[in-house]
């Protein structure tokens, strides 16, 4: 089905995003995907909590480990829950996703970089909180 020549079924199926195509007719197949996803996601979530709690992870490595685990879990969700694949029938969906992720990354890391530079360049200190509860 995902073969480039599409010999057996003519052509690749056009699919809306999130559609489970390979096993759509098989109840077990769809279930398997969600079950795998659930297990992997639970595992990764558990690991995230664990990394924080156990003493033997080197302190400075914790943030990086957490971020890696989170990215992995997002991948698990995308593949097993949202059924994003690399198949040719998914190209448009994946291209759109890639563009979105790129923009997110640019906004997020661009802002952090710019504002960090600014803070160091201008030595802005957090203003005292004398105006707490700000005027309405």
């Amino acid at each position: 089905m995902s073969g480039p020549s599409g010999t057996e079924q003519g052509d690749a199926a056009d699919a809306p995003p999130g559609e489970e195509r390979l096993d759509a007719r098989e109840f077990g197949g769809g279930l398997k995907s969600y079950l795998t996803g659930l297990l992997l996601a639970a595992l990764l979530t558990g690991l995230s909590f664990l990394v924080l709690d156990v003493p033997f992870v080197w302190g400075p490595a914790v943030p990086m480990a957490l971020i890696v685990l989170a990215v992995a879990q997002m991948g698990v969700h995308l593949v097993f829950f949202l059924h994003v694949t690399t198949g040719p029938d998914d190209t448009n969906n994946v291209l759109a996703l890639a563009f979105g992720v790129l923009v997110c990354a640019l906004v997020l890391f661009g802002s952090i970089w710019i504002m960090d530079h600014l803070a160091r360049g201008t030595m802005v200190e957090a203003a005292p909180a004398e105006e707490v509860g700000a005027p309405r």
């Binding site: 690749a12 056009d14 769809g30 979530t45 685990l69 969906n93 957090a126 700000a134």
Partner: protein
Amino acid sequence: MSAAEAQEDPYVLGRGRGGADAAGEGRGGDDARPSGRGEGGPAPKRTVVGYGFWIYLLSDIILFAGFFAAYAVLSGDLAGGPGPQELFEQRRLALETAALLISSFTCGLAGIAAGRGAMLRTQGWLLVTGLLGAVFLGLEVQEFATLVAEGAGPQRSAFLSAFFALVGLHGLHIAAGLLWAGTMMAQLAVKGFRPAIERRLMCFALFWHALDIVWVGIFTVVYLLGLAG
């Protein structure tokens, strides 16, 4: 549900264009079914709706990216107020995460049941999804109430403003999802499986799964990284 509707992708990049594109020429013009060779005419409605909603979700994710950026930049600005380590509670976080993750799973089960046309199971799983979402929302409201009661409301510091806005936005999405799910359940009960309603179910599943992905970002970046200091 899609087996009958499964149509070929007319828009695969890198295929079916150029000289080898004999199919485009030889095919009858009034053929409703696309050739799948790159340019087969308008896609089926289900694909169009799914893709449109997918694009909306991307814009929604970018909306969250804006709030994430604000949180990342402002999270150090405590203004002398309490910080993440004093405020966040790991047990509640674990419960919230579990509720949302399982609801994402049951939402998938509802989709499978709908695909098989099983009304009762669809409604049941949707109900479970909604209840788990409600549990999540309840926990979040409880957390917000506790924080405000402790004097750590959003007006306290820029960090807390960014925190309440980011997490609250996610909560707002969950609430909207609950409203949507409830409305859809009523619609499903009254009207049964119709193409339009099945498309909405598909969009709801996309929405719910996407919210779970956003939550992965939130519990990592906001809570766990905050607790890690």
